[in-house]
């Protein structure tokens, strides 16, 4: 080694050493590992945010949401899950100075799975929507930093504290009404949580803005995300402060026990008297169900203007070998006065068609069979009672088959969908800054536009209908039948090839109701391709004022509904929605994908609904079987829900 080389080596060594010294010196130190962190005035080590939870698991811990008595909002942990109902955290701190010192600390938590990044890499500023992230700190937001007094003994001192994760952690006025903090209106999100411990010197504390110390406070009408402040923003420059993000996380999973009952809410019957004779221990209104049932019977919205004139036939399409010829004859050879004027029905006798099985922890729903004189097509379903924002909603379910062995449709739509928890202002979705949203869900194309609405919906709707895209083969060209009984071919018309080619398939329609907000930069109408993981999906919107964007994928009815069960998953993320289906959780495949470039993605709180519902097929142009020409069901049509997991 010559002198020059030695010199260069020395220079590099010095640079490295200086860098190390700087990084561990007296500005805000951030670390995500378990090693000690040091600044000029103090040193931290052994930060454990969940000291009393799953002690055997050091890093990734899990907690299942306790649905019992959770009407006021989810709490993590509950007293059932952890004595005192609190997580305890701990860390060790050493005073590095030669005098007694006061230090101050605060613990923050944030949901990491469903968040916007704190830093907007394009502007190098806080992300516009980082304030929407679910983060919190002390339950009492007016408790700011907590004080630690340390002597200069050159020893580490263990500091312990408690916290819990609750709804409305910022105690926002939006969710407080008549002095009641409705924490359930902003429930803790599922997914992984991180923990940020911030310890500061007395001097640094003075420089931390009030809206960071008190997460209830706003800065210029907006909340400020503390993670951004400490990890990327001005907080990073604090001289004698350490912000350390735990390496371990807490995964929150919601998996309600489906055997815990179905509650019946009077409100859905509009205050009118109704039959309660089917109430039982697992379905009804008793106080146990009111407190603990995770589900409620769902009553579909029925547009009374969409009257059907149904053929007067009662048959079991799935079991009676009902054929296309049966369909065609019934379509052509009933007179108007033989038809049954009706609208889609909903349950008039709650608990008659929904059952919660406490033993097998499952729910059974049944579209009831009907008879001559009663003639009804009754939709059936359940809805969760606790709202969530974002999550991977996965159901293990055996829904009814939709096609029979002749591939004739029974008229039902199997739907797994998320719907706004409603509520008005508190549950408004983020403002639409370009043209606004269509004001109502049900209004026409001339509905007024408003900056914000509470309506949101994300759907799986599975039925017999053709794809809209690519639109060269839409709509199918259906021949007109002619009611000449002397010639079979005149009335028994063949379906177009493009329909028969997928005769055994049903369509999985994936829809996001964005209420026609045109703010997304690639907002479009007609068919537009969306690429995701090597697949191209076609998103379709009828016109500028159409409230929903739909992607369709054809799948075989037998695979989805003839087996023992199948999984359906809506992965609702802040900037994406991914629809997946599969035979098991580890074999899920994407069938739909949308992102915030093409559609406004909901950020409010929603509920999950599972229904077997009858649709007016006028909603689904191009459908080969018209609802009016499909028989009334002769027998009950059951569906079974085995599991709901939200993570």
């Amino acid at each position: 080694m010559n002198k020059l080389s030695i010199l260069k080596f020395t220079q590099r060594l010095v640079i490295i050493l200086v860098a190390i010294v700087i990084s561990y010196s007296c500005n805000n130190n951030t670390s995500s590992d378990g090693s000690s962190l040091k600044c000029e005035d103090f040193t931290l080590q052994n930060f454990n945010p969940l000291e009393n939870w799953q002690k055997d698991s050091a890093e990734n811990k899990t907690i299942f949401i306790d649905y019992d008595n959770a009407n006021g909002g989810f709490v993590l942990p509950t007293v059932k899950q952890q004595k005192d109902g609190l997580f305890s955290f701990e860390f060790e701190i050493k005073n590095n100075t030669s005098s007694n010192q006061k230090f101050f600390y605060k613990l923050y938590y944030q949901n990491e799975t469903y968040k916007f990044p704190e830093l907007d890499s394009s502007t190098n500023k806080e992300h516009q929507y980082a304030e929407e992230n679910f983060y919190g700190s002390w339950e009492n937001t007016s408790t700011l930093f907590k004080e630690i007094s340390l002597t200069a003994d050159n020893n580490f001192h263990k500091i312990q504290g408690n916290f819990r994760i609750i709804g409305n952690p910022r105690n926002e006025e939006r969710y407080i009404k008549n002095g009641i903090n409705n924490r359930w209106q902003r429930n803790p999100r599922v997914g992984k949580y991180s923990f940020l411990l911030v310890v500061v010197s007395e001097n640094d504390l003075k420089n931390i803005p009030a809206y960071i110390q008190d997460i209830h406070k706003k800065n210029n009408e907006h909340f400020a995300n503390p993670y951004y402040y400490y990890l990327f923003g001005e907080g990073k420059q604090l001289k004698n402060s350490i912000a350390t993000k735990s390496s371990g996380t807490l995964k929150v999973i919601a998996q309600p026990n489906l055997g815990n009952g179905i509650y019946v809410n009077d409100n859905v019957y509009g205050g009118k008297d109704y039959d309660k004779s089917f109430f039982c221990a697992t379905c009804g209104q008793d106080s146990n169900l009111f407190k603990n049932a995770p589900l409620q019977q769902f009553i579909n919205y029925v547009d009374i203007s969409t009257k059907m004139d149904n053929i007067p036939v009662v048959a079991d399409v799935l079991k009676d070998n009902y054929s296309k010829m049966d369909y065609n004859w019934n379509k052509s050879f009933y007179t108007k006065d033989e038809l049954i004027p009706t609208i889609i029905q909903t349950a008039k006798h709650p608990c008659q068609t929904v059952f919660s099985d406490a033993k097998e922890k499952k729910v059974i729903i049944k579209n009831p069979g009907t008879t001559y004189g009663e003639w009804k097509k009754e939709s059936v379903g359940i809805i969760t009672r606790h709202g969530l924002t974002y999550g991977k909603f996965r159901v293990k379910i055996k829904m009814t088959e939709l096609l029979n062995k002749n591939n004739v449709w029974n008229g039902l739509t199997n739907a797994i969908w998320l719907i706004t928890q409603g509520g008005g202002d508190w549950n408004f979705r983020r403002n639409c800054n370009k043209n606004g949203y269509m004001a109502t869900y049900w209004g026409g194309s001339t509905d007024k536009r408003v900056p914000a609405v509470d309506y949101t919906e994300i759907d799986f709707e599975i039925l017999k209908t053709p794809p809209y895209c690519p639109d060269n083969t839409f709509p199918p060209v259906y021949k007109n039948p002619n009611d000449n009984n002397k010639n079979i071919n005149s009335w028994n018309v063949k379906l177009p090839d493009e329909i028969l080619n997928t005769d055994d398939k049903i369509t999985v329609a994936c829809t996001n109701w964005d209420m026609a907000c045109s703010e997304p930069k690639d907002f479009g109408i007609g068919c537009n391709p969306v690429d995701y993981k090597g697949q191209t999906y076609y998103a379709h919107r009828w016109d500028q004022n159409y409230r929903a964007l739909t992607e369709k994928k054809e799948e075989t009815d037998d695979e989805l509904f003839a087996g023992k069960f199948y999984y359906f998953e809506i992965d609702w993320r802040p900037t994406e929605i991914i629809w997946r289906i599969g035979p098991s959780p580890d074999k899920m495949r994407e069938v739909g994908y949308m992102n915030d470039k093409i559609t406004s993605i909901a950020n409010n709180q929603m509920l999950l609904i599972i229904t077997q519902e009858y649709h007016n097929t006028k909603w689904w142009p191009g459908t080969p079987y018209a609802q009016d020409n499909i028989p009334f069901p002769a027998n009950d049509i059951p569906g079974e829900i085995y599991d709901l997991t939200i993570e």
Binding site: K307, D309, P312, V313, V314, N321, S323, M325, D326, W329, S332, F333, Y334, T335, K336, D337, E338, L339, I340, P341, T342, I343, Q345, Y372, G373, E374, W375, K376, P470, D471, N472, T473, F474, P475, P476, V477, Y478, K479, N480, P481, N482, D483, N484, N485, K486, N487, I488, N489, S490, N492, V493, K494, P496, E498
Partner: protein, 584 residues
Amino acid sequence: MPQKKVRKLIIIFSILVICGFTSSYLFLRHQYAKKFNTGAELVRKDSAVLTTLLSEKIDFESMENVSAEKAFSGKRSFKIESSIEYGFGINKEMNAIPGYQGLKNIDIEVKCWAKKKVEAVYVLSVEDKDGKNIYWESKPMNGDKTENWRNLHFTFNLKPETINPAYIIKLYPWNKAKEEFYIDDIAVNYQGMGIPVPVGQSSTSNFLYDFESNEGLTGTESIKQTVAHSGKMACDLTGGREYGPLVVKKMTEVSTSLIKKITASVWVYPMTDKPNAVLTASITNSKGESVFWDGKSTENKPFPKNQWTKINASFSVPPEKISLEDKIQVNVWNKGRTDLLIDDMEVVYGEGADRKGDVSTIDANSIYEKKFSPQKNKPPFRTIYFSKQNFNYSSLSGFTPNDEFIVGDFIKDKSNLDEIICIHDGKAELFSFSSTTNEFTKVKGKVLSVDSLLKIKKNSEIHDFTFFKPTDITFSGDYYGDNKSEIVKLNMDWRFDLKLVQEERGGYVILGNIDFKGYSNDYNPKYYEFTKIISGRFISSNQSTLIVISCNCSDADFNGKHCNQMESNTSLPNSIGLYKIENK
């Protein structure tokens, strides 16, 4: 079979044979000879079908100078007073009937109320433009029921020489005895063979052009033998050729009313990338002015080179801009003038005809509130199922709906079961059911006299047209096996309409629509073009059952009464079955 029975049978047969076998045989031979006309070339029936060309209904509700004294429906009817000789008349120029060239008959239903039997007749008169009578026919309007609304049903058959676009059809009641009565709800169906259509669908609104022939097309110079989607021919739009063949239809050719939609499809074979071919629909009025144009392009759609890809289009037609005299054009415009081929163009005009009949009067709320109660003889009716019995039908496989059948307990034995005499091709044969072998077998013996047998059959028919239509076929029997008699009523005028009827206090009550169960695949008897029912106590002396013979017919002008050429249809093969009610 015991010898005694055989002897009895031989005696019966012999007497009947002496009475008139020879003459009957010759007569029926002539009538049914065509059945085995296997040498005749099959006519492609789909090219012309018997269909309703035009329907009209007059309920007098919006007319002035009509009677408000009584009405069958609504509040008004037409009163024919004793001073009036000719009642409300319908005049129709033949050229106002879409497809009048194929007009075969006029079917009329009219409701009539009279205090007593009337001698009036309903008249069809065909006249030329100068008022000269070309054809005249009348049907009696009498009926047994008085002081009640009666349904009268007439069918006037028209001969080819009475068809001329300039002729005028006149329909009216002739009150020749100057009596007083009311008429209401006149429904007229002009029925005939639909215009030829080049597609395997029997409809005047569905058309497929496969370019194998130029029929129905203009501007066909681009059609040639080339790469084709089907067959050998396609339309070649290469070398800058801009327009494909044109389909032109007058509105009245494809619909009896203004159409609201045109749907069309065509297969496109681009020879270059990014073709821009436009499937177009346009409408011009009688002055030749364009009143509508729309098109759908292949541009920006997945039409890969050297591959057949279909384009579908749906065009909404503004009804306020069009009239029945307008012409509709559909074609392909090669807007991009790139090289491409097109083939198999399909056009569907309109959205299909409305269902027949009046709007249902059922109160939907009565259903929701579970208070629905059916009204006597008004739809919707219950469905009563007859189930197919699992027998060996091989000995009956020669039965066809052309045959005549007589049912009775001809063999006096302990079983008390009915036997069937089948008159087939001028020959009568006897069949009976054996409960031992669970099958029908032909009874061996001499041939029966056909003439006398037919006389027996005619005597058993019902002639009460106050409830039944003249075209109804009726059978009576104990179908529930409860020692009560019911009537099975079949009407095939429009559809296979089979009802179970019960006599009640001198009238009749429809118990329900009869449908079938237990058949294989799609072989429901009601789907066949030509069906014959035989009723009797064939398998049980306590319960009547139905033997249903179901066939399809390939006659081009099949009228539902006799078929010259039975059709073997693989999806709906000709079949026979015995059906009975399983449960009450």
